[in-house]
Symmetry: C2
Subunit: 412 residues, 2 copies
């Protein structure tokens, strides 16, 4: 039985998936998707030299002596077109974004002036030619490529798309994901409590991990330990692009999943990865479709989702960034580790003057789902590590819920 | 005119908002929301001592000599109840999650055994009492508080909620947000191109920033520079919990927004913040409702959303973590800064052996929306800073699109 390393298993998974084809969505639905087209500017922006401030457009040469008094010959708002040319000693009141009048070569902001009677203004500071002017085409030139295929659509990108008037945009299609739990011992969310059973947490934790990637999955329910029932469920699951099956991948005698999966024409590419938790994680493909066999244990299943499923789903959606962000953190205590497998330790993060400090959430038993709920990240212990002492630096993968923090965290 | 610091302005905003009341949502819709109730375990988990491995449950005292041969008297699957008590020399085949039979005090995993004929098994390694057993109530005790009010609902929390069979859960209500752009110079997304106008990027960038927080805002459109039209739009906007108005807050003579807002009974609490970009940002309240006057410039408007609007919306939703996550990064080049205002510089991040490196996206003109689309974060330069040299450490607030990264980023 092959025991791949985490990166070998990730490579096998990623080599089995391709980026999906494109579909058109409205700008309102594009956040978090990935551009499947090149986007070009459709005009010069700004369309002419405009003011960067509310103030006065003027001829900088008129400010040889300060204070200077100028005559206001016009009022120019954004959206206006200037009607007059400035002569020496003249200026035009101008709003941010409004076009400069002919003759003007600089703008002075209103704070550096004093209004005078009779359409005159006192200028209290000299400015250089070009001051507070935004130049024609400074932001984008007509026809210029502003966004390339593969760009993740963030709010900033949405702003750019609106700027080039894209009410619709081509993005990569999202995979359709089905989730199946297996095992006679599982109790469904809507079933009454049976103390001899285990509530099905996996279906919902995996659902939420999938939702966090912007994909609404379909829950197929619980397949009992019966080969025919399992085959029916798996067949339904293989109608989707991605099937996540949890439980049933153990090496025990009651394992119907493996033979049943293979009988359905799925080519299994691995069954085990040298990691903890998550050791019994399997992966296969059937044509363009892929199937993950995740551990029955919710913590293991969630860790495997993060390491293998999320990168695959994000690759399908066209993302270049497919792995969880990592930060370096100082361990606040010793951590034991037996060499052999890469270990993912649930940790809480705190910010200190020198950076992040990581503290274990406590007992790391893979049944401890509560500790997953409390964790900010997974500290990664390399397979060859013999344990780490307090103060050592460790790489931590950030989990969901860490995009924000309690305090602003900067000196202002 | 008051010029608050960023933190003073944040304090004014946060003192003006309260956490919203609760509503019930289905578990499928709970991700990213905040718990408004205490959640308790509804049974012991595990409900009895169970096996943590696929293997054999046995009496550890029987393994005095290794290898040892034991008689298999039963097969116990998860969901079964054991029927027999182990005597000396006996064991039961057991699956992960299955209850231990009376008499057993340890489990050995199947990998450390060899099957023998006639219902016997050879055990190749001794184990301690308690080995690979998960104890009754180890994960949660019946009645124990497992989740407290204020907990952000991450996938791990969803798993815990499913474990305690919560198909519905009480969460804090989300604010209803309306977005309004103002200015004659603006061109709507559905309007034809007019080279003398500026496309309305703000409405859509603010929409996307709001969506990124899990709130679907309402776009009110563009109010022209007419006091009556503006008053009508503002009145509609004040039907929502939060109104974001962009443009129209400048000090110029064409500023109708300020008097019109105050005439509608809004108490304005600040008009200026000592920051760059984003200087002309205003905030007010009308009873329980709040209104932000954001700069007309998209970059400034987006930065102000991140510093003031997002923390307010997250506070309303019940989040403890309301500020963007920060990391420390090494500047790859000199940065100029004139003391006076806190400056937010758009940067790209790269990972190096020693941590993050930050590089400016280039020209920082506040019209440069493209640079916002390219940025991974905002490097924060304190107001009293005289500029920084290459190699200095700087605090960077992470922007959207940084939850994932290109590479796994850990040694395995």
């Amino acid at each position: 039985m092959e025991h791949l390393s985490v990166s070998e298993a990730q490579r096998v998974v990623l080599e089995s998936v391709a980026t999906f084809s494109a579909e058109q969505v409205k700008l309102e639905q594009a956040l978090g998707r990935v551009l499947a087209e090149e986007v070009r500017a459709n005009r010069d922006q700004p369309p002419y030299d405009i003011s960067a401030m509310d103030g006065y457009s003027l001829r900088s040469a008129d400010l040889g002596t300060i204070p200077a008094t100028l005559e206001i010959i016009e009022d120019i708002k954004a959206g206006d077109l200037p009607g007059k040319t400035l002569a020496s000693g003249q200026c035009a009141r101008i709003m941010t974004g409004a076009p400069l009048p002919p003759g003007a070569d600089a703008v002075i902001r209103v704070e550096d002036t004093n209004a005078l009677p009779d359409n005159r203004v006192q200028i209290n500071q000299s400015v250089k030619r070009g001051n507070d002017i935004r130049r024609l085409g400074e932001n984008m030139r007509n026809g210029e490529v502003v966004l390339t295929p593969g760009t993740e659509i963030t709010p900033g990108v949405i702003g750019v798309l609106a700027t080039v008037k894209r009410a619709q945009v081509q993005v990569h299609r999202r995979p359709r994901v089905a989730i199946l739990s297996t095992g006679d011992e599982l109790e469904g969310l809507d079933e009454p409590i049976d103390l001899n059973k285990i509530p099905d947490a996996n279906s919902y934790a995996l659902m939420a991990q999938t939702q966090a990637l912007g994909i609404e999955p379909v829950l197929l329910g619980i397949a009992r330990d019966d080969p025919d029932e399992l085959a029916r469920y798996l067949q339904r699951g293989l109608e989707y692009d991605v099937l996540l099956v949890s439980g049933g991948t153990s090496v025990g005698v009651h394992d119907y999943v493996r033979p049943t999966i293979e009988a359905l024409g799925v080519q299994m590419l691995f069954w085990r990865v040298a990691m903890k938790p998550g050791h019994p994680v399997a992966f296969g493909k059937a044509g363009e479709k892929i199937i993950f066999g995740l551990p029955g244990n919710p913590v293991s299943s969630m860790v495997c989702f993060g390491e293998f499923v999320a990168p695959a789903l994000r690759r399908m959606m066209g993302h270049a960034r497919i792995h969880r962000r990592t930060v370096e953190a100082r361990l606040t205590h010793n951590v034991k580790h037996q060499p052999g497998r890469t270990e993912f330790i649930r940790v809480m993060l705190a910010q200190e003057d020198e950076g992040y400090a990581a503290t274990s959430t406590g007992a790391q038993g893979s049944g401890m789902l509560l500790s997953m709920a409390r964790a900010d990240g997974l500290a990664v212990l390399p397979a060859d590590c013999n344990g780490l002492t307090a103060g050592s630096m460790v790489t931590v993968q950030l989990l969901d819920g860490t995009v924000f923090q309690d305090d602003a965290g900067f000196r202002e």
